[in-house]
Symmetry: C2
Subunit: 220 residues, 2 copies
Amino acid sequence: MLTVALPKGALLQESIELFQSIGLDFSAFLAPGNRQLQIADPTGQAQGLLVRAQDVPVYVEYGQAQLGIVGYDVLREKQPNVAQLVDLQFGYCRMSVAVPQNSAYRSARQLPPHSRVASKFVHCAHDYFYGQLDLPVEIITLYGSVELGPITGMSEAIVDLVSSGRTLKENGLVELEVLYESTARLVAHPLSYRLDIDSTRQWVQSVKAQLGQTESLEQG
Amino acid sequence: MLTVALPKGALLQESIELFQSIGLDFSAFLAPGNRQLQIADPTGQAQGLLVRAQDVPVYVEYGQAQLGIVGYDVLREKQPNVAQLVDLQFGYCRMSVAVPQNSAYRSARQLPPHSRVASKFVHCAHDYFYGQLDLPVEIITLYGSVELGPITGMSEAIVDLVSSGRTLKENGLVELEVLYESTARLVAHPLSYRLDIDSTRQWVQSVKAQLGQTESLEQG
């Protein structure tokens, strides 16, 4: 039986709608007060796992789920060994460098060497500053409310996901640079996809057809 | 002015009560719908930062907060460079190894080499299996709902925090071993404490007096 890993949070609603559109119903996860993390599709064709966004690629990598939906930001940060098959075109956001509105710096390049940059996405931040800009900075790992870094004076800048920009604005921060843009992606366990275990390929084709995509990015 | 880092989640209520008992009121963080992450104590003696539990030691380590409250589990996992001053005797829980009820293994030592162990506390799990048991296991990092590891068959065991044991029971898991017990701790920025910046030592003494402790663990 096909197993699908679905991400808690911002991408859940649209992920469930997408699977509904191809005949798999995991909407029980959206029921108020739901505590179940594992449910069967009523048609008996598949089961769904409800996990943290960062855990989706883990379940897919280990083959506990043949398919999963996760943001490109998580794939960039974690570099999991999963096949990245379809850009699902929802969940748009961007990974950006931001500084306080009153900062003297107007581009990431202007930050002095050994500046402090707070982020939940430490690998993305490192790749950008060390790899692209060749600018050595001290990256401070935070798990939440990264905007407090500059507010408290702990860091000059942040690297964080921005969607509407409201959180930045409320906290007196401005975007300097966009590292990359992110959308939700359909990922698969590479071997399950190649060997078509539990008809994985057919489900992927259904998703592509639903989105009107015939060709798409194969293998991440 | 003294800055105190307070942890969101399970320890917040009692942390705020403790500071109230020594004359610092951060109860505005508990107001329904509060979105503020930084508030001033009404007496003007201190400000509070409301951050993720794992971020508390970061703010204290960098000196943005002179004091913080955080679980011993986070200190064991992250090994931050903070002074661990007072066992606050609330927020009791334990770090345990658990397996499915129907597992053949009745102690952690019985797990076969290269078993898979899912955990959010990868350093604690690694220290226990490699350091104490000398048993090489594959540790799978998860961010939430670690109990899904054994349920889906991805891992034989988990290492996770247990308080009432209800989550384990609901998911058909049993505790095999306790790695260590955890309670909330008062931590300080080492230099601020030593140099008594913003009267840090006096506030620590007030906390100790409140708890009836004259001697206590100094420097973690």
